[in-house]
Each structure stands twice: as C-alpha cells, then as structure tokens.
C-alpha cells in the first residue's frame, strides 16, 4: 500500500462534516484534530475515504475518551509512562461513570493556549540548509504568541546563514564553527537569556500555537523538560513513507505522558527507554536544569556519533530525579528526508548514535541496563525484524535493518575505545556526586 503516494490529510473532527469531506484518489495518512488539539492518526486507502459520519463519530468518541483519561485529573491524569513509554492507566469503571459532559469538556480542553511565550528562547541549529531555514523562520514569525527570542546557531564552517538571518528581523545569529549538533546546541544555550529554551531543527515547520503551548506546558507542570508531537509534512517519496509508516516516524502518541523517576526505575533493567520521550526536533527545557545536569555531550549527536544527544540529556534529568513531560499539543511538522540513501544513512547513524549514548550513560552512572540493551535487546530486535520482514515480504525493511546493524556494529567501537570513553564532558559537581568512580 505504501508503494503508491500518500497524502497527509488533516481532518478537524470539531467541524461538521455532513457530506463535504473530499473523496481521495490515493491513500492518505489522516491526522485527526479537534480544533488545534491533535487527536490521532490513521492511514486509509482511497476506497476507505471519504469517511462516513458514523465512522467519524466513533473516532471522535474514542479519541475523546483517550484525551479525557490522559488530561482529566478526576480520571487519574497525568498518565505516567511505563515500558516503551506506553502510559500506565488505572481507570476504574466507578471513575469512568463520573465523567459527564465530555463534549463540552473536550471543547474547553482543546481551546488554544493563551499563555505568553515571552520567556521562551527558541534555538534553531542549522547547517548548510538555507531554503529549509528560511521556511522554518517564516513559520516562527506567525506564532500566535511570539517567542521572547529566536537564536539561529549556524554550524556551517563558513557561516553561510548570516545574510539570511540579518535579513529577517528579530533573529539573533550565532556562528559555531566547531562541527557537531551538540556543540551548536550548547552555543545556543549559552546565548539564550530566557527561562525556557526550546529547540527545533531547520527542516521543521512549527504549528502556529507551538510556543504558546510550550509556555502553557511549563506553567501547568513542574517538569524540567517538555517534548511535543512531530508530524510529517508530506509523504511524497518512498523514503518518506518508509520512515513514517515502517520505522514509526517520530512517534505516534497523542496523549500527554509524564516520564519521571518511576519510569526510570521501571525500564532501567534494559536501558531506560528515554528515546520514547520525544525528538530533538521538538524539545524544550527549563534553562536551570542544565546547571544541574550539564550541557549536551559533544561526543554525541549529528556530526559526532550520529544522534541521541537529546535522549542522553533526558536520561541525566531523570537520573537525578527530574521529570520530562510529553505534551502532544505542542506540534511541529517535519520534512522527512526525501531520498533513499539519506534514509539509509539516517538509520545507520541513529543506531550508531543510540549505541554511543548507551555507552555514555553506562559510563556516567554505571547502570548495567545500557549494556544489556546493546548486547541483548538490540540483537533480539534485529532477529525479530529480520523474521518479520520475510513474513511480510518487506525487502526494503530488510535493507534498512542492514543499515541499523551496520550502525550498531560501528557503534561498538565507542565501547572499545578507552580514549573516547574518557573524553567525557565536564559535568556539574552535583551530578558528579552520583557518578561511580
């Protein structure tokens, strides 16, 4: 089915769809909303569209139930994450029976945030992608609540984004010639002056409510970090469809989940499942948390080991007793890589970066689960995926799996390189106290 083109189709369930939903000439990934509140997504074939009233009503009811469970304190919200980030639910029939007026509850809950984003600094790290950056900056100008500051960190060697940034008003431009996303992120952090720092990437278009929703999430919760939903902009090419539909994209959860000490303890045995917390394309922090846990590890991330500098910071936050909140109401749209070789490279570097972060986490805290993940869970995942790909006749999944295995193999070199492992970044004294010698 994903051989053919797929349209990304946005359906607002709050609108009255009596008969006017367009039919489709190709399959679509339907993303369902209630106004500005994202509810869920589902791919449908052309024959399955347009959806009838009964189908939309049923979807709306199911989504409303999920939102109410995750957002109504009377029903046990917030949900705490467990294995693979899946929320624990403890709903009883007795409490379910107390839920009244759910549709007006949903209307109120879905109302866009009116919080000011004046205390939010946005940091965009970019490298040699001027057209993408221009689009991203344009989307930031249309934010309902403008961010207090927007910082572009140019990670190119020659600073080629400076003209573009000079031409846009209200952008602070910083050049960081040391290659590596972690360097760029750290430079952005030291330039930021606001209490909340939000990171996004140059290939991302934030939703107009993004900054206001981040501000609301930090105001309503004590979490040290907030992550949000990353949706695909388009699925025009085979590589984009594979990334979204086969590899899971950047996640598909539409309810808020709290990742805290309990989640850390529960999943520690096989490497804390921190990669389920979110994606670096849509993450924000209280700036003060970096005083407690240190800056991004410059050995990790794009331009260095490959990725996972984001999840490794979350690991440190959770390890010292902090919490991260996933709030899907803060939405950005990501332009997935269009060509197959970039996707293969991405899969390889994801896995290499993942292994490198596991090594770094093991070294920092001595948690054995990280090693278990490298030598037990990941090989098991490779075998399972290989069998599945034969069973479902998915040769391209096998190709990506090969890249993942390459990435894993090349990630092992970090494990056996004492030099790399000693080059641990400087950390605050508070954190050093928790470290093994």
């Amino acid at each position: 089915m994903i051989r053919q083109g797929i349209t990304v189709r946005h359906v607002d369930l709050a609108a009255d769809h009596s008969g006017e939903l367009a039919s489709a000439d190709q399959a679509a990934l339907n993303i369902y909303w209630w106004g500005d509140l994202p509810l869920g997504m589902e791919p449908l074939s052309a024959a399955e569209m347009p959806e009838g009233r009964a189908r939309l009503d049923l979807l709306a009811a199911r989504f409303a139930a999920e939102q109410r469970l995750a957002r109504d304190p009377a029903l046990g919200a917030p949900l705490v994450a467990g294995a693979e980030g899946a929320p624990h639910r403890a709903l009883t029939i007795r409490t379910a029976a107390t839920a009244r007026e759910s549709w007006s509850w949903l209307r109120e809950t879905a109302a866009p945030s009116t919080h000011s984003a004046a205390d939010v600094a946005i940091i965009i790290c970019t490298r040699n992608r001027l057209p993408d950056l221009a689009k991203c900056l344009a989307a930031l100008r249309t934010q309902r609540s403008p961010a207090g500051e927007v910082i572009v960190v140019d990670n190119s060697s020659d600073g080629n984004a400076s003209d573009l940034c000079a031409a846009s008003t209200g952008i602070r431009y910083v050049h960081e010639p040391r290659p590596g996303l972690s360097h760029a992120r750290n430079t952005g952090l030291s330039a930021a002056t606001r209490g909340i720092v939000a990171f996004t990437d140059d290939d991302v278009t934030p939703h107009p409510g993004w900054t206001a929703e981040l501000a609301r999430a930090f105001a309503d919760s004590d979490a040290d970090a907030v992550t949000g939903l990353v949706l695909p902009i388009r699925l025009d090419t085979w590589a984009q469809r594979c990334f979204q539909m086969m590899m899971g994209g950047f996640g598909d959860r539409f309810v808020p989940v709290l990742f805290d000490r309990r989640f850390f303890a529960e999943t520690q045995a096989d490497g804390v499942h921190v990669w389920r917390i979110g994606a670096g394309a849509n993450m924000a922090f209280r700036r003060s948390v970096f005083d407690r846990v240190g800056l991004f590890d410059t050995r990790l991330g794009a331009g260095a080991s490959g990725c996972s500098e984001d999840s490794e910071i979350w690991y440190r936050i959770l390890a010292v007793g902090g919490a991260c909140l996933y709030e899907p109401r803060a939405v950005v749209f990501h332009d997935h890589r269009a060509d197959w070789s970039s996707l293969e490279q991405q899969m390889r570097s994801y896995m290499r970066g993942h292994v490198s972060a596991l090594v770094a986490q093991r070294d920092l805290f001595g948690h054995r689960g990280n090693v278990m993940r490298i030598f037990k869970q990941l090989p098991r995942y490779f075998v399972r995926t290989a069998i599945e790909s034969v069973l479902h006749a998915a040769p391209d999944r096998r190709k990506l799996l090969r890249q993942e295995i390459f990435g894993w193999t090349s990630g092992l070199r970090y494990l056996i390189s004492p030099g790399w492992r000693r080059r641990r970044p400087k950390l605050p004294a508070t954190l050093s106290g928790t470290m093994p010698r």
């Binding site: 089915m1 009596s18 399959a27 791919p43 449908l44 074939s45 052309a46 024959a47 399955e48 009838g52 009233r53 009964a54 189908r55 009503d57 049923l58 709306a60 009811a61 199911r62 409303a64 139930a65 109410r68 469970l69 029903l75 639910r89 709903l91 009883t92 029939i93 007795r94 409490t95 379910a96 029976a97 839920a99 007026e101 759910s102 549709w103 034969v390 069973l391 479902h392 006749a393």
Partner: protein, 404 residues
Amino acid sequence: MRFAIRDVELSQPLQAIDLAPEEVGIALIGRWQERLVGFRMVRAEGRRSISAEALTAIADEAFAMPVLTAIIEREQPRPPSRALPTLTLAICTKDRAVRLARLLATLVEVRDRSPFAATEILVIDNAPSDDSTREVAASHAGVRYVTEPKAGLNFARNTALANATGDLLAFLDDDVVVDRHYLEGLAAAWRSAPEAGGFTGLVLPYRLETEAQICFEERGGFGRGFARREFQATSFAFPLHPAGAGLLGAGCNMAFDRALLLQLGGFDDALDTGRPLPGGGDLDIFYRVLRAGRTMVYEPRYAVFHEHRETVEQLRHQYWTWGLGLMAFLVKSWRTDREWRPQHRALVRWWLLDQLKSVAGAAARLRPRDLRFRLAEFAGGIQGLFGEYDRSQRRVAAIRDRLS
C-alpha cells in the same frame, strides 16, 4: 471442566461469584446499561469463588475504557434517525430440530419488539430426513417454513434469498441463539450506513462446557471485538484485504441488502456445501459485496451466542474446514477475478508462511493438541489449494441433476 458464563451489568456493583466444583473459571460478558462492551475469560486457578473485589478489579482492567467510550458516545449529538427497512430473518437448518427450537425461542421474543418496518422469520429446511424441523417451525407463530431438497448450506441460503420479502436479509445458523438486543444492534448497524451492502456482528460463546469449547474460545473464538468497523474494497491496514475476508465476521451472523444479493447472483453453491466442503461461502460473499463497491459494517451490538464444537475431534475438523474453505475460496477468486490475482497469490504465500510459523511454534512449545489443530488447518488448506473447488463443483452439479 467448564467456565461459568456471566452477563454482568457494570453500572451495578458486582457480586461475588461462587463456582461449582466442575467450573474452572468465569467468562464475563460486560454490559454498560445493557450495551455490550466486552468479554473476558478468567481462570479461577483453584479458587472456589471470585470475590466482589477481585471481580471488580478484573472488570476495571477489561472494561473501564470501553465503558468510558460508551458513555461519551451516548452524549454525542446524533443525526435524526431514519425509518428502518423491512427485514427477513432466515435460518438455514438441517436435521437439528432441538437447536432450531432453542434459537426460535430467543428470536421470536426479539421479533415481537422489532424496530424494523416489518420482520419475518423464514426457516429453510435443508434436505430433511424427517418432519421434526417442520414441526418446530409450525409450533411458533409467524414462522414461514420452506424446504430445500438439495443438500448444502449455500443451496439453502439461495432458497432463502428466493423466498425472502424483506429489503434486508439476515442469516443465522441453527447453532446460535440471538442476544436480547440483536435487532437493535442490526438496526444501529443499518442506520450508521444505510448504503452498506452487508453487515456482520459479534459472535460470543453460548456455553463453555467442554475442553474443546474452552480451548476454541481461549484461542480467540469467533471474536471480532467490541468496536464497530467498516470495510471497503481495499484496506490500508490489511494490504491483503479482502482476500483475507475472515476479518469481517462469520457466516453464522450476517445480513445483506437483498437487492444486492440478487444482483450478485446469490451464493456460490459449490462453497459451504456441508460435508465435504463446509466452508468458504461466507468469505466468498463478503468478498463479492466489497468487490461490487459496497461497504460491509461490523457491529458488535448485533450479537449472537454460538454453540462451539463439543469435542476436540470436532474442533480439529473445524480447523481443517477453515483451511479447506479459505483455499477453495481463494482458488475460485483467483479464477474469476483476474484483476486481483496478485492479492490472492500474496495471501496464499502469507498463509503458508503463517501456518508454518504456528506449526513450528506449537511444536517448539511441545503442545501436541495445538500442533494437531494447526496441522489439520494446514492439511485442509493444501487440499483446498489443489482441486477441491473443482471437485465440489462436480459434486453440486450431480446433486442438481439428480434433483431437477
């Protein structure tokens, strides 16, 4: 060895359940203010009674989310409901008067408060060997009785089609009884999609009193879940659909737009013939409805209770017929529907790999009974793949010649 089946109203506090000595577990049919929301089997693990607290914990885990969804759905603004069409309820039966009587007792009761414009009950007596079926039909008011001398379920279904008067034609097997809200369920399904070509419903166990019945239900039974679903000619989630039409429901509880069935030429006599090819007929008609561009709707409130096979040997035979029926249906579709041949081929390939996987799984876990079931299904499939449809066509041609 049996499971106590309990219908529980979840809006009331649950009471402790005492188990009889031969009962090894409970099967809960959960309802929220009468609406079916879930089914859950729990083994007693030696307990002689299940306390109210334990029962509440089980119910919370299994039913709380569907209850919340049901509550929210009921508050949803609804479009004005349409007037319902006329309905024929057809029961095809052969020499099973006792079971027919059991079904009619439940069916007459729901018919008498039917929301449909008109509701008739039609009994098709298939090649009867005595008068018992006729007598049972005659003992209920307003039950029409028709004989079909050619033995075979799909012969009987076609006779039902020829004799029915309702706009909507619902089929029931004689080994089911209907839920007390069966007709409201069918009405809800029709109102949600009046343009649909067909409807299927939930099939729950009627009793779980033998090892085979428990085993079948624990392996999933006929369960298709408690969420309404719609099926079209293609499905994104299931690339092999509708070649794998078994997802849609089961022949013991299905209904169709009668005009569409006539237009499609009715059921294929060479499938669902009773022995030796007692399967595939439901898959075939679902497939053809979808291929005609019409929707099929699965509605869990449109529910029946099915008497599962009693002995392990009968159950093994049933799995054998599933493999046989599926493959006979695929061979037929491959011949008649050239355009979708890649789908048929892909399904055969998937099925073979999947069967090998479950055979290997059962063997590796040293489960001899499971292994026999899987091998039976596999053997049935292989026989179905190699000429069974042709043999069946020759057999039904002979029956037709003999009786015309």
